[in-house]
């Protein structure tokens, strides 16, 4: 797993640097490498498939447009791209929420049927299992704080409200949760 992951990352880094020079072929290769990660993450946050497609399209075009901002010394291309994708997905879900005042209850996700089970299962790979296992090792509050923010796009203030916790506690749980994830997943990086 380490070898495969490393290989993909190094290659993506090199491709993104080429993309910054205007290399469309490199972008096409990069697309093949990261589009599944981008689309899957966006869909996880945005949920609506059509909107997820729209956001993914925006993100991937933005990768092309702003590739010159990528600095390999600051992190991997995959991280850079997924960070961008996550930001855009969260922005979308928040503006949608603001528009409809939709109010999802904590935990509803776990009880509602998954949007697309078939795809999920096809994709269920080693990495997916690993992340789930590591999430299971967090305390409930750490896990909820982290996942409500990352997968559902809530602000830490909203998370605090939902979990009826003080703001400071939520910030600490988020930090501790991420740090524990690092320890658990570190070997897989």
């Amino acid at each position: 797993m380490r070898t495969a992951g490393e290989g993909r990352r190094v290659e993506a880094d090199e491709l993104l640097v080429l993309v910054a020079t205007g290399d469309q072929k490199a972008f096409e290769d990069l697309y093949g490498m990261v589009s599944g990660a981008v689309f899957g993450l966006v869909r996880r946050v945005v949920r609506d498939v059509a909107q997820s497609e729209e956001v993914s399209q925006e993100v991937l075009i933005e990768v092309w447009r702003t590739a010159g901002r990528f600095d390999p010394s600051r992190g991997s291309a995959l991280s850079w791209i997924l960070t961008l994708a996550h930001r855009r997905a969260v922005d979308r879900v928040r503006s949608a929420r603001a528009a409809t005042e939709r109010d999802l209850r904590v935990g509803q996700r776990e009880h509602s049927p998954a949007f697309d089970h078939v795809v999920e299962e096809v994709e269920a790979g080693l990495e997916r299992q690993w992340v789930r296992r590591c999430l299971d090792r967090l305390t409930d509050l750490q896990r909820q704080s982290v996942t409500l923010a990352y997968y559902d796009g809530y602000t830490y203030r909203e998370v605090a409200e939902r979990l009826s916790l003080p703001l400071g506690t939520v910030k600490t749980r988020m930090r501790d949760g991420l740090t524990r994830l690092r320890e658990c997943l570190g070997g897989a990086a």
Partner: protein, 280 residues
């Protein structure tokens, strides 16, 4: 209440590193924290580490994207110039050669468009439409423009509306792209949808005209007079609608102020539409 509490009602800014890494700050707090990051080297290191941790959460979410997404993205990429591309880079975009010079490291930090704009007025529109394919994105972009004091409200509204229309063309299932450029760097880039009869036409290298003259875009059809599709504003894309399925090409001519009912000069650039599905 201390000054710090007043400035940071959410508490010590350092404690926001984890929420920031998870994108769990609202827009206002995010902007404030980013300003804080500029002065806090420790925070930068911490945010970077925590962001890498957060990205691990994305490992478990990968899913195959719809096949159409690839075509749309590649079509858009073909006509979307890159941020900060200079004329030299523009040439590379076409010829696909190796970079002539490494990008300055500052570029990564020079993310505020208003810093770049005065130097590259011709590329002002790069920050706008083609890459922003939804009304929501148009709002985000519009808010970028809003910080520029000299940007007239009317222009903003028009650009926002145009971005939304362009998004529609890009989102059409049959949207396809083509483009060209001559030895002088003049050309057109097009994303067109035959089913919608619409196209986004982006001029490049046409330059500014003197004496109030304008660049006018024409639709060419077999055995018919050219039909005007509108006038280009310097460097901005034009949204052409009502395109006939049998249209064979687009042409640009130089016309007197206000444009002409029919072309009065030979085209400066021309682009065939067959590769985007027209003329068949």
């Amino acid at each position: 209440m201390t000054i710090r509490d007043h400035l940071w009602p959410g508490g010590d800014p350092h404690s926001l590193a984890a929420p920031y890494a998870l994108d769990a700050l609202d827009a206002q707090e995010r902007a404030r924290f980013e300003r804080h990051l500029e002065r806090c080297a420790d925070c930068v290191a911490e945010v970077r580490a925590l962001s890498e941790d957060a990205v691990r959460l994305a490992w478990s979410t990968a899913a195959p994207p719809p096949p159409m997404l690839r075509d749309r993205v590649m079509a858009a990429v073909r006509v979307t110039p890159q941020e900060g591309s200079l004329p030299a880079q523009e040439a590379r975009w076409e010829y696909g050669g190796a970079p002539e010079h490494a990008r300055a490291p500052e570029r990564a930090r020079a993310e505020r468009p208003q810093q770049r704009r005065p130097r590259e007025p011709r590329f002002r529109w790069l920050l706008m439409p083609l890459a922003t394919t939804t009304a929501a994105a148009a709002l985000v972009v519009a808010s970028l423009f809003a910080v520029q004091a000299n940007q007239a409200r009317e222009d903003l509204r028009a650009e926002r509306a145009q971005a939304a229309q362009i998004a529609q063309v890009l989102a059409a299932p049959d949207a396809r792209a083509t483009g060209n450029r001559d030895a002088q760097g003049r050309g057109l880039g097009v994303v067109a949808s035959k089913s919608e009869g619409r196209a986004v036409v982006t001029p490049s290298g046409l330059g500014a005209l003197s004496g109030g003259r304008v660049h006018q875009l024409w639709l060419m059809r077999p055995h018919m007079q050219p039909r005007s599709l509108g006038l280009f504003r310097t460097g901005t894309p034009l949204l052409a609608s009502g395109l006939d399925a049998d249209a064979t090409s687009l042409a640009v001519t130089v016309e007197p102020n206000g444009g002409s009912p029919q072309p009065t000069s030979a085209p400066v650039v021309q682009l065939a539409l067959v590769s985007v599905g027209f003329g068949a």
